[in-house]
Amino acid sequence: MKRDTKHTPQQVLSPLEKSKLKIKVCGMKYQDNIESVAALQPDYLGFIFYKETPRHFDTKIPEIPEGIKKVGVFVNEDVSTVIEKINEFKLDAVQLHGEEAPYYCSILRSTNLLSKPIEIIKVFSIKDEFNFEVLEAFENVCDYFLFDTKGKLPGGNGYRFDWSVLNDYPSTKPFFLSGGIGIDQIDDIKNFIVSKASKYCYAIDVNSKFETEPGLKNKSILREFINKLHNKKTMNYNVDDKGYYGEFGGAFIPEMLHPNVEELRQNYLKVMAEPDFQKEFDKLLKDYVGRPSPLYYAKRLSKKYNTKIYLKREDLNHTGAHKINNTIGQILMAQRLGKTRIIAETGAGQHGVATATVCALMGMECIVYMGEIDIARQAPNVARMKMLGAKVVPALSGSRTLKDATNEAIRDWINNPVDTHYIIGSAIGPHPYPDMVTRFQAVISEEIKWQLKEQEGRENPDYVVACIGGGSNAAGTYYHYLHEPDVGIIAVEAAGLGIDSGESAATSVLGKAGIIHGCKTLLMQTKDGQITEPYSISAGLDYPGVGPMHAHLSKTGRAEFLSITDSDAMEAGLELSKLEGIIPAIETSHAFAIFKHKTFKPDDVVVMSLSGRGDKDLQNYIDYFKI
């Protein structure tokens, strides 16, 4: 039925619907907590200089991002002290919580003792009713009013007043709404902001309802509150209990695979949580793989692009790429599930080598499926796998590349359901594979956090960047930053000869939802649902799908997806070689080409996943540059 707009009751739309309702978090006390709350980008942070409260602020304010205003809260303080504090702490606003008179405000407004002008917020406490006449005298001497609940204390009483009192608000001055507001009041606030009473409501002020102890704020509840208030659905970027990332993921598998996949699903988290498993995993990563991999500040590259670039050196792992983090994890998993035979698929051969390596390490039978065409173009890796004792089986079906190697591995698993574990090399496949692979690769971002803290004094960079084929190095690089909104996530796909050339692997642009290799994800396909063959100069990125987590990150806008052509990638690989003395894998080179297309701020910290080294691609580089 067509909706007749003429007769829809007119809601009073507050100005807030047009601009965002501001948020003030008051009663900040501890340095670390201030930093982590500031990362949520509230509009105001409040520091209480009134001594008779447990939230009394008596330390230093750390560096906080520009755009967040620092508010000093005072109760009947000497004007001279207030001025002193404003200058000392570089306050942007003062909030007057006592019986300060209009002339007190006018002194603050007109004094020439301040290094910069400040906002003045005058507080009024409301119980059940309020005589709005008192406001008039303050109209010209302050910038905002703040309405709080009248209680025993001057603020921080922890309960709210009846907001409908504000229906009689006679002024046009914007005000802060305060007093006992918590996450439970979200619906009330939403009702309030479409009511007449909120017409001049400018900000929401929160404090005690978000604390674990006085002065210590709970960041995750605050984040949820802010997201809800701004109508941002609180997103979960991890897999849910049904195996989905939003609409993507799941396990679309033939019944023949069900027992194997179900066995894995039921056990993977349990096994990974076993202290014995963790101990062995950590020890192998340290002693065998060589972790932690360095986080290296790339000085010359940073200078060239006028920003701060760090390289996470996964290329320095044993076997030369991030792939081994996952194969170590999965071989330990396979052992605990009592499997004796390992199968894997490989495109460029990196995952095949990483799998053959751990099979040699554990003395297990290893069969690697590889497209016939890839076998021809990646001869050194085929030789490495053979030296390591693996059997390399050519995939002769379809296009005879990675997609078909994966089909063949799945067919092998169907035919060998009892003794075999399939080590999938990317964050793809039926649930729980994408999550399991991501968790094994998450060691990358886990290390970035403490390494960056050591070098930059903060855990969170401004951006994390990784190249994406199926997306395992990207998943590991993003994992611990997925729910940190101040960290930008950049995913770099292979555009091949160009997005519109018909020879591309840019799944986020060219793909749509479909089913490949057991999961629902973004997929390059014909209108009829036949999977198409992607193209990229890099054998590791020419996969027609992308892991379901990345499909979700793309769809929700959490990650920015860029696509880079063959030629830009090759140039970037050469540039990194010459500027930093590091020859990257061609997959990785794609990520480095973004600096030609995207400008970062000079003080941005950009962490690049240097997912693999370029030895395997030497022939490609030689041919391309006619070296």
Partner: protein, 254 residues
């Protein structure tokens, strides 16, 4: 009554044949269906080809690739099946992977099947729980029977669950394999067939995978309501063309 159900109610062992639509030639679909009916086959699975048939062995992979190269698509198949009910009454099942159906739109696909007189679907990579939660109502709305697979590794509890969701027959995969991988049954298979027989399921079972001749057909139908032949038939038309379907069916049924 759905044609599959009526057929299952007949007092005889059923022969079901799978073929790949659009293979060997794009326009062979209708004549293959008509010839199969004429030669005493009881049920037909029309294979909708897919680029990545991961439960299939080389024979059906190759026929699928060839069919796609011939220009077979969902639209083309539906076009070919227009009017099929004017000439045949045999139960028709479309067997294909989920992605082409998903792209066509599951509801649109089911609606079209009903219009054309298709009786059921077999979708190996649509798991029973996803079907149950998301699509069962749509299938039922259009009177379609969905057929699920079980294997020797499927647990009894899961078989019971699948039986409770099924409303036609259960496709019993004879061994852990892709299609066309094995021929003949050993003790392991017969033990499995007997085990399932003793479960007294609500839905009759039809055995598939590994049936290629009279011997395996007879063996399988000793334990089940019927048997499905796929790869062996595709091999036959590859070798002998589509004009000699009678010789194939005779070799099975005699």
């Amino acid at each position: 009554m759905n044609r599959i159900v009526s057929k299952l109610n007949e007092d005889k062992k059923l022969l079901s044949i799978y073929f790949t639509a659009g293979y060997p030639e794009i326009n062979d679909t209708v004549s293959i269906i008509q010839d199969l009916e004429k030669n005493g086959v009881d049920m037909i699975e029309i294979g909708l080809p897919f680029s990545d048939p991961l439960a299939d062995g080389p024979t059906i992979q190759d026929s699928s690739t060839a069919a796609l190269k011939n220009g077979m698509t969902t639209e083309v198949l539906f076009k070919q099946l227009e009017g099929i009910r004017d000439t045949v009454s045999i139960p028709l099942i479309i067997m294909g992977y989920f992605n082409p159906m998903f792209q066509y739109g599951v509801e649109a696909f089911c609606k079209k099947c009903q219009e054309l007189g298709v009786d059921g679907l077999i979708i190996p990579d649509l798991p029973v729980d996803v079907y149950h939660n998301e699509y069962q109502a749509i299938f039922e709305k259009y009177g379609l029977i969905n057929v699920f697979l079980i294997t020797p590794q499927t647990s009894d509890a899961r078989i019971r669950y699948i039986d409770s969701i099924s409303n036609g027959f259960i496709y019993m995969v004879s061994s852990a394999s892709t299609t066309g991988a094995k021929s003949g049954f050993g003790d392991e298979q017969t033990a499995y067939f007997e085990r399932i027989g003793k479960m007294n399921l609500n839905n009759p079972q039809v055995i598939g995978f590994g049936i290629s001749n009279n011997e395996t057909f007879t063996q399988a139908t000793k334990y089940a309501k019927g048997a499905i032949i796929g790869s062996a038939f595709v091999k036959h038309v590859t070798k002998h063309g589509v004009k000699t379907i009678d010789s194939f069916t005779k070799s099975i049924l005699n």
